[in-house]
Amino acid sequence: MKILVIEDEVLLQQSIKESLEKESFLVETASDFYAAMDKVFVYDYDCILLDIMLPNGSGLDILNELKEAGKSENVIIISAKDSLDDRVKGLELGADDYLTKPFHLAELNARVKAVLRRKHLQGNRAISLANLELDFEDRTLLVDGKAVSLNRKEFDILNYFLLNKNRLVNKTALAEHVWGDNSDQADNFDFVYYQIKNLRKKLQECGAHVEIESVYGVGYKLVQK
């Protein structure tokens, strides 16, 4: 899987690259408009992360060109500007998603994988790990082929962990992903811990060969047993 990161802030670009490489993606980078235009039309990428404000030009112009070439469906816009206008324009030009800076790397992982899943749809409606199979379409979990009932939030948590398997998922990123804008108070309580505890119990009861490890008050990591 080949991913292009178009981002002018080199430090951010490097972090994104490093994080995506941990997921075994092949990552290339571009730091300005011209370099980006060159790469976009010379190579084929499975996913393009596109910053809107670039030296020498706008990311939206790149997106426009991509749309004309019929290649805009695998673009995720990453912008410091949380403007409705840009979002609407970007999505109209065929971008798949819009992510506002600053974002969590775990969230970026999840979004990239969602794009890749949509791009390579064939039979890929589920994620599997060990004896687990999580079906996005039906929102069900199968362990050893047997259905395990999960409530909506538990499903979302497990899904997020599976998209970030073997990676540290911090509490904030998890809370923001599952509870959205209302998660800003979650840090003040052992709220996330409580939710994880319930999910752990369910996974243990059905004999799943995965484990959600705690990492020192920072977050959690899903690993195969």
Binding site: I16, S19, A173, F191
Partner: protein, 427 residues
Amino acid sequence: MKLLNQSLKYLSLSILMIVTIWSVIFYLNMLSEIKSSIDEGLENYKRLIILNAAEDSTILTKKYFDESFFTIQEISREQALSTKDRYFDTELYMQDADDQAPEVEPVRMLTTAFEMNGSYYELKVANSMVEEDDLIQELLWDVVWLYVVLILGVVIINNIVLRSLWKPFYDFLQQLKNYRLGRSKQFPEVRTQTREFVDLQEAVNTLLKRSVATFEQQKEFIGNASHELQTPLAVVSNKLELMLEEESLSASQLENIAEIFQTIQQLVRLNKTLLLLSKIDNKQFLENESVAIHEVISVNIEKLIDFSTFINIAVSSSEMEPIAVQMDFSLANIVVANLLKNAIFHNHEKGNVNISLKAGVLSIANTGNPNPLDVEKIFQRFQKFDSNKGAGLGLAIVKAICELYGFEVSYRFENGLHLFEVNFNTN
């Protein structure tokens, strides 16, 4: 004190002074005029008496003032020669036409001397004079009347002339009072040709323009600053996330980095909130649509139910009258979510929250702090009533959104409950 009354005060004081001084001078002048006219009369009498005495010598023996107003007395030549005509005020015991009995009356008297047939005589002629106290009384009343009439005149002139002259000023003042920085589109305007008022308008408008420019700059600055902070925050945040994944770190290093990371997350949230506030202030939300508030409420209760059950807060809703409001959907969502979060998180153990929507008024009542909160401060930015619970911007945002749409938002403490209300009815 109003300008109208001020000018009335000064005018009536100065008129009182002028009228007083004028009436004293007038009185003195009149008195001397009266005296000189009486003196002329006395002079006439004198000549008539001397003429009559030449014909009728009995007159020369008239020694007392009785029925007539003169006395004649023979004197020596030396005495006569040393006598000069002398006019003076004195009093005589006599009966006037308006007196019941004879009484002492003020008179003007002339003493003179004349020679007749070799004999010398002294002549005293008297003429009754105006009684001064009567004159003063009469005059005083006239002056009082004059004063009253003058003041009445001034009041009427003040009311008609000044009122119409100052009307543009009061109009202007009213406009200025209603002017809201950043919200009023038109500058106050004075409708007159009066130069002072036109100058005032120019001065005020120059000042307002400068304030508006400063206001806009400040708004822009907050927006730009928060915006520019997004990328560095993203860099730091993502670097820390990668660092936390490093296997080689010791437990204590991990914990330290985790603390830094959490702090950065607070900063990220604060910055996002500031950006939101700046967007509201800059009216960047204008996607007005019909928003069903009751639906927004139930969606938000649902979203927050995980949190409220976790901390044992009972959220209930009573009386949900459907209402649709023209506003930006995401802002409606923020208003409801912030008020709900506020009620849930600033609560005590096993507390409760009650929500109602009646006649376009959203009321959220919650238990919590047993004392009322400071109404003046509660909607201000960065006001925290609980430590470690957010940045104190939630209610400020609610207030900003409500102001944007003209909704009224209020807080009061009633029966031990904190009650927040938003009135979605705009006039």
